[in-house]
Symmetry: C2
Subunit: 355 residues, 2 copies
């Protein structure tokens, strides 16, 4: 039976990315050696990094003056690297969910860090909009997509300060205005690659201004100067990212990814809104196109487990909602075909008919 | 032509590790999903981590009271995590080469950190032995194998303080006395796995004593409490480590790895000592069994490049010495078959006959 991978992350990758990565692990570029055992200093690997960086700059229209890095440790490590490198006097954070809150917590270890707006009181069911943003912030940190709660801001907010964006779960799903950011970071394991590499896009002239000593590995300058090769980078995850980037470009770039994300989300949200059994958990104008959260309507609460089993038997994988929200979450990253969403919708419709 | 991978890292892995990892990337446990796209919370992945941890405890005879962790970021990130977590008043470091020096540099950001002994003046050509170790150290940090200079200490030093060991390039190549260490860490990309994961073995009751606030991701307690699942771990590199650990066990454990390493090193060092063209760069009792460094004798200096080309044409890969030492370095990690060393020795002998 065909399976559809709706996992929130690590998550679905294009089949050709998976196959090409496996192939290079067996024999890298016909060298007789595995991608898993070549030196990162090998002359065949530098072109992998160079091409990946060039594709990111091209796909996201990264302006001059930004560096693109591949680091290890995951986006969670960036939560402390951001204030280490950028917090001078005062930082602002939008509290839009679990990950945003974790990022804010780390910043507080380094100086003044304030919550500029929050949707915590409403169970994170919307993305804050009409808030007052202080003008004296070193940066405003935003989590552009909230994987757990299923909210997303699909456009940079209009604020009088520079942005830092955790885009772990929606990068490459739409065009972004990189020029508004001092730094963008993203764990790879949604729209970019297998887990194990973090993408950083950082404005060079913002670095070196924080009034503290930074451990070498936590200082973005270290990695900018060495082109992500200060220490051994995660070679295979970076190669996997390159394959995904090539795929995105071949499919039509982030504009096409946005078109597909909108089309997928419309089909699924329309069904959630129509189907008597289900309802969405998020205010309509904050709905994520990546993580589509829904629950059983109160009068059908006892059908939650039966529906989960019904859908699982029909090939839907990873649709259980995060434990803090409950219900269901269908993550629809770039590699999710419309066919997968249609299969899920069909499940919902058939299940409705039976109840 | 058969190639022999003498790269210093990332480096040779057993062929079955490579093939099994590639296979799981195509289809993980027959699930229809790729290892690269499954959730780290999937019920199929927890057994991977559990088995890997259990094998490490078994192979290295890890005593009770230690935790085994898989983190991202590489051993270089540990250089700052060690003092963050363990430096209370004063730490000691053996300066045995480039990586040891880098580790000491990071410790100095956090408090008093002293060089207890050094072989820097001798170009790191020996492993320090008869030094006075202060008794008031929180820990003595040692780099058990120096990848660049080719020195190794194959037994824990007799010192009156607790040890912390960077074992990136010789872990699993011999039995170790874990009980003498508060922490052992190792980048995976030599004897364990593809690059992208760091192994940590830490004594639980040593944590939480350092007098400073530690960012969440840099606090070992975070990862101990969550069993390496605080954030998304590097799934594929961890799986690759599991495959290698299974292989080591099947081959006869670290005792057998030690026997093979000694046998390989004897064959190669004997040839270096015998062959009129070459000489070793390291004092005999400090010679590494993992990274075997040698240069052309002075009267044959101009044969360096020709020998490199000669050996490369005959399938030797990655034997160029590190730029700080020059000459040649044949890294002979666990997966290097005796056949590879014999092929290199044959190259050296045939080349000698021609000159």
């Amino acid at each position: 039976m065909k399976k559809y991978n709706f996992n929130a992350g690590p998550s679905i990758l294009p089949r050709e990315v998976i196959e090409n990565t496996a192939k290079q692990i067996l024999d890298f570029n016909g060298s007789g050696l595995s991608l898993a055992e070549i030196s990162h200093r090998a002359k065949d690997f530098q072109p992998v990094v160079d091409e990946a960086v060039a594709l990111i700059k091209e796909l996201l229209k990264v302006p001059e003056g930004y560096s693109v890095l591949f680091l290890g440790g995951g986006a969670s490590l960036e939560f402390c690297m951001i204030p280490y490198n950028f917090l001078i006097k005062k930082a602002g954070y939008l509290n839009t969910g679990t990950w945003a809150k974790k990022a804010l917590k780390e910043a507080k270890l380094f100086g003044e860090a304030v919550e500029v707006a929050s949707s915590a009181d409403a169970g994170y069911t919307f993305y804050p909009k009409d808030y007052e943003c202080p003008t004296d912030l070193d940066y405003l940190h935003i989590t552009t997509n909230n994987t757990i709660y299923g909210t997303e801001i699909r456009k940079e907010p209009e604020v009088p300060v520079r942005l830092i964006g955790d885009m772990s779960s929606d990068i490459f799903s739409r065009p972004i205005d990189v020029a508004k950011y001092d730094c963008i970071y993203a764990g790879a394991q949604k729209n970019l690659a297998m887990a194990g590499v973090t993408l950083i896009i950082v404005k060079d002239d913002c670095l070196g201004k924080a009034p503290r000593q930074i451990p070498t590995m936590l200082d973005y300058r270290t990695h900018v100067e060495k082109g992500s090769m200060f220490n051994t980078p995660p070679v295979v995850p970076i190669y996997c990212a390159l394959e995904t980037l090539r795929w995105i470009k071949a499919q039509g770039g982030v504009e096409e990814m946005a078109r597909r994300a909108e089309a997928r989300a419309k089909v699924l949200y329309d069904e959630i809104d129509r189907n008597k059994l289900f309802r969405g958990t998020v205010e309509k104008d904050s709905r994520s196109l990546m993580n589509i959260c829904f629950v059983m309507n109160d009068e059908y609460k006892d059908l939650e487990k039966p529906f989960f089993e019904y859908a699982t038997q029909r090939g839907m994988v990873g649709i259980k909602g995060h434990r803090s929200v409950g219900g269901f979450r269908a993550s629809c990253y770039n590699a999710m075909p419309m066919e997968g969403v249609e299969a899920l919708v069909k499940c919902m419709q058939d299940f409705e008919k039976e109840h």
